[in-house]
């Protein structure tokens, strides 16, 4: 399980600088690389100043929603007697995404440092890092790092003699994508079943154990130390006004060089596919791409010029999501791909909302039938109707997550669906 050779070193600039270096995982190795310097700096800053710096950097949440991180931190109430919590979302389960795993297995101390700085900013006394259960390798590495960080005084009651401290606990999940949705994750920790709950109240008002809580993604928190080290302006030299900085892109599917690449935000999608990832194998053409993970609207070959910023992808009718393009070449049956995606969301629905519980399963069954042969043209109308009724009506957006790719694929690949129905099999890939 070595770091794959397919990674292009020159694209690794900031976050992923030390990926692939065994020693960076150890505390000493990390210190040699300047680790925990940002924390020392943060300990001399007031919480407000940290929040302001991160706000000014324009850093946006990397968990999928892209909410500005500093702004989110500023929603935390004034610290009173109630504890504050930071929950680090390391549940990474969106199909297509595999960046947090890499961050944690190569640079666990970077995450710890980011967590402690964020905890200071929001005055949290305890950080829970919720790691998806399957990530055993990550867990071993992270556990080692956390133990060492406690030993060295980067965690605990009185961090580096500052008089301020916080705890960090690694909490391990057990196989549920919905535990990645923020309120689902808080339910998973506090109550067991990862059932999202209706907002408001937002976690900053009433989160973990009913107390003010901020939820942040691994990549978001891992980006914080360098921002404190170098300042907001430094960070803003990359990317656009609304999408500053760099971002890990998880590229998978039909690519010659799939993998994680750290890129300045804004590179055209087609360049990521063709230049960074070496294009699709055997000289085939791209048929379609889910640009931000399987829950983002599908883009067809003609739409790949868009800039990979939050705003660029949204203008293109899709979303940056988890920045995880899943590339499908000409050999791909769109019906099958969509069926596979729908199956996932049906499998992962927590089951509370009727539209989601029944809708995801129903959509999957229809797609299965069309794929098998046995579809009817009316099925497409039914699918559109179901999409409409699953949009914006549920507790969380898992139901919408199947609608985005499905509805867009119906719009853009209708002829393929129709041909598949007519011939009872895929003709597009023949």
């Amino acid at each position: 399980m070595a770091f794959p050779e397919t990674h292009e070193r020159e694209t690794r600039t900031l976050l992923s600088r030390h990926m692939g270096e065994e020693e960076a995982r150890t505390l000493d190795g990390w210190r040699e690389r300047g680790g925990y310097g940002a924390l020392e700096k943060a300990l001399e800053m007031e919480p407000d100043e940290i929040v302001t710096t991160v706000k000014e950097s324009g850093l946006r949440g990397r968990g999928g929603a892209g909410f500005p991180t500093g702004v989110k931190w500023s929603f935390m109430p004034e610290k009173g007697d109630d504890p504050h919590y930071l929950a680090c979302n390391a549940d990474e389960s969106e199909p297509g995404a595999f960046k947090d795993r890499e961050l944690m297995r190569w640079t666990p101390h970077l995450l710890i440092e980011g967590c402690v700085i964020a905890a200071r900013a929001i005055q949290a006394e305890h950080v829970y890092v919720y790691v998806r259960g399957e990530f055993f390798e990550v867990i071993r590495i992270l556990n080692r790092a956390v133990t060492d960080a406690y030993e060295a005084g980067y965690l605990g009651e009185d961090i580096l003699g500052s008089g301020w401290g916080c705890d960090l606990t690694v909490h391990v999940g057990a196989g549920a994508y919905i535990a990645g949705e923020e309120t689902g994750m808080l339910s998973s920790i506090a109550d067991g079943r990862a059932e999202p709950r209706i907002k408001p109240p937002f976690p900053a008002q009433s989160g973990l154990f009913g107390d003010p809580t901020t939820v942040n993604n691994v990549e978001t928190l891992s980006s914080v130390p360098m921002i404190l080290d170098n300042g907001a302006d430094w960070y803003r030299q990359w990317g656009s006004d609304d999408s500053p900085g760099t971002k890990l892109w998880c590229c998978s599917g039909h690519l010659n060089r799939p993998g994680n690449y750290e890129l300045e935000l804004g590179m055209p999608l087609k360049d990521i596919i063709h230049d960074v990832c070496g294009g699709v194998p055997e000289g085939r053409q791209v048929r379609a791409v889910f640009p931000g993970g399987s829950s983002t609207p599908i883009l067809s070959r003609d739409e790949l010029d868009c800039e990979t910023t939050y705003e660029g992808l949204s203008e293109a009718g899709s979303a940056l999501g988890t920045a995880s393009p899943i590339v499908m070449d000409e050999s791909t049956c769109i019906v099958r791909a969509m069926r596979r995606v729908a199956h996932f969301y049906a499998h992962e629905s927590c089951g509370q909302c009727v539209q989601c519980r029944e809708g995801t399963a129903w959509v999957t069954k229809i797609l299965e039938r069309i794929e098998r042969g046995g579809g009817e043209m009316e099925d497409l109308d039914t699918l559109y109707d179901l999409c409409e009724q699953m949009t914006g009506k549920t507790i969380c957006v898992l139901a919408d997550s199947v609608v985005f790719p499905l509805e867009s694929s119906l719009d853009k690949f209708r002829d393929e669906y129709e041909a598949h129905i007519k011939h009872d099999r895929c003709t597009a890939t023949a």
Partner: protein, 532 residues
């Protein structure tokens, strides 16, 4: 629905109708006030949490782009809500369609048919068929308690049952297992529910997924008659509805009373009546003549009894704590006429274990397993552990106490033994006259519960033979000796009782209504309020 306290009122419009509600209400409650029932499954007014998970109560609110769950949405001053907009109606319709996706549509054999919220709404939205071309998920049925079955295929995972158990019964032994469309309701494997209030989960279930095995296929909801009544199981006096069919009680269902039992009742109360109505009924008056009990019609029987009573002075009496206030009243009057000393009348109450419903402690299955011990007390009867053996050679008067548990020789030596009762036990057969009276279900009257709340019950069944309410029989008997006139109507009996009893003067038949009135409910001042 929270009673309106003194909290501030806000006003909003529901489909154009302006309503004022307290500021801590939700939109669904405000809508109800405006006369609009928004379909709902997971919301139940008696269960504290509002998970807003079934998503059927979605409404449109001006200024908000997404539809909002009205069961959870707090009201705001000036809010404009549309429950009937196209989007809201379509969303609702689609929830029904989604629910029908895996629903077996076995209404013809479903116990809930006729009182099913899925059937109702599906009917309203004109959508009894689903477009589903796929195979339905089949999960089958399961026993979750010794008398409750769970039909997983009908379940819509509203979690009302789970939340009733968790939050109201505070017994966390019913849960959702699995997730997504594989989710179902479950207990710990191989362990049944065992809670004295678990029967309520059947009532809260909006569909036919939870069913009392005893009632399975017994009767369809629409061919049962429903009569407001009071549970006679204990002194709590829970408000219930008697569901009857072919002159039989099929089941009891709780009826909302925020002062007594909320939306709930206990399992003992459910079973006690349905199971406990055994024994030989008295159907016609019987008067002893030449050693034998001879059947007679009422006028002959009353004449014969009146004649015998003429020569009587003193004696003792036994009453049942199941007798209603009105019957006890006339019985006391009769005893006074006959010179029976006040302390010579006694009653005994069967005792049982007490169980409190934690989420609504006013609902407690009381140790006193009879409806009207408080009434018996009020009319001066003495509470005893076991009835004193009647004095040999003296008269004995019994009202509705079956004497089933009396010793074999009980009342053998009474000089005269008058028995007014609904059942013929061995001891009762020793009576000189047996006057058949109705059970509470066959008449109207009132009970006084443990905290002095006087509550009315109505007639649900036809009595057997020519049995009559005891208050009617007794007032007739008194009238024969010139004491008043026969009373034929429960309201009149009640009126006479409250006129004659100062401690009952605050009571008013209309005000007692369906929710009851307490004896200490402030004299005079508001007495007329409910007179209509």
């Amino acid at each position: 629905m929270p009673e309106e306290e003194n909290s501030d009122l806000v006003s909003l419009t529901i489909d154009g109708v302006e309503v004022q509600v307290s500021e801590d209400s939700t939109v669904i409650e405000a809508a109800e006030k405006a006369g609009v029932v928004v379909p709902h499954y997971c919301y139940h007014p008696g269960i504290p949490t509002r998970p807003a998970q079934c998503r059927v109560c979605l409404v449109e609110v001006e200024g908000q782009d997404k539809l909002q769950p009205s069961c959870k949405l707090p009201v705001q001053d000036g809010m404009e809500v549309h429950t009937d907009s196209d989007d809201a109606e379509l969303a609702r319709k689609s929830v029904i369609e989604f629910l029908l996706v895996n629903h077996p549509l076995d209404c013809p054999i479903c116990d809930a048919a006729g009182q099913c919220m899925l059937q109702d709404y599906a009917f309203e939205t004109g959508q009894l068929q689903s477009r589903l071309n796929e195979e339905k998920l089949v999960m089958g049925r399961d026993r979750i308690a010794d008398d409750i079955l769970y039909f997983a295929d009908r379940c819509i995972i509203c979690t009302r049952c789970v939340r009733f158990m968790r939050e109201v019964a505070q017994d966390d032994s019913l849960v959702v297992a699995q997730r997504g469309d594989r989710a179902y309701i479950d207990t710990f494997p191989d362990e049944d529910l065992d809670n004295p209030f678990q029967g309520n989960i059947v009532d809260v279930c909006p569909v036919g997924a939870l069913v009392h095995e005893d009632y399975l296929f017994k009767a369809r909801a629409w061919d049962m008659d429903k009569t407001p009544s009071i549970c006679p199981g204990c002194s709590n006096g829970c408000n219930v509805t008697l569901d009857t069919k072919e002159n039989q009680i099929v089941r009891l269902k709780p009826r909302y009373n925020g002062e007594v039992n909320s939306y709930w009742m206990c399992d003992y109360g459910r079973k006690h009546l349905v199971m406990g109505n055994r024994g030989v009924r008295t159907e016609v008056p019987l008067v002893r003549q030449g050693g034998e009990l001879e059947p007679m019609d009422w006028s002959d029987a009353l004449a014969a009894v009146g004649e015998r009573l003429g020569g009587i002075e003193g004696g003792s009496a036994v009453v049942s704590p199941d007798a209603c206030n009105e019957s006890l009243h006339y019985f006391r009057r009769l005893l006074d006429t006959l010179g029976v000393p006040a302390d010579a009348g006694s009653y005994r109450v069967e005792q049982g274990e007490e169980h409190t419903l934690p989420g609504f402690p006013k609902l407690t299955l009381r140790e006193d397993r009879a409806a009207n011990g408080t009434g018996a007390d009020l009319f001066g009867f003495r509470r005893v552990e076991s009835w004193p053996e009647p004095e040999p050679g003296a008269p004995l008067f019994v009202l509705q106490e079956t004497l089933r548990e009396a010793p074999e020789s009980y009342a053998e030596d009474a000089s005269f033994f008058l028995y007014l009762g609904s059942h013929l036990s061995p001891a009762a057969r020793r009576a000189d006259a047996v006057l058949p009276v109705t059970t509470f279900a066959e008449m109207a009257g009132t009970f006084t519960n443990h905290e002095g709340r006087v509550q009315r019950f109505q007639k649900a069944l036809q009595p057997p033979g020519i049995a009559r309410p005891a208050w009617m029989v007794l007032s007739g008997l008194l009238a024969r000796s010139g004491d008043g006139s026969p009373v034929l109507d429960a309201a009149d009996a009640f009126g006479e009782m409250t006129d004659e009893r100062p401690e009952m003067a605050v009571l008013n038949w209309g005000r007692v209504g369906l929710k009851g009135q307490t004896l200490d409910s402030g004299a005079g001042a508001e007495a007329g309020a409910g007179a209509r």
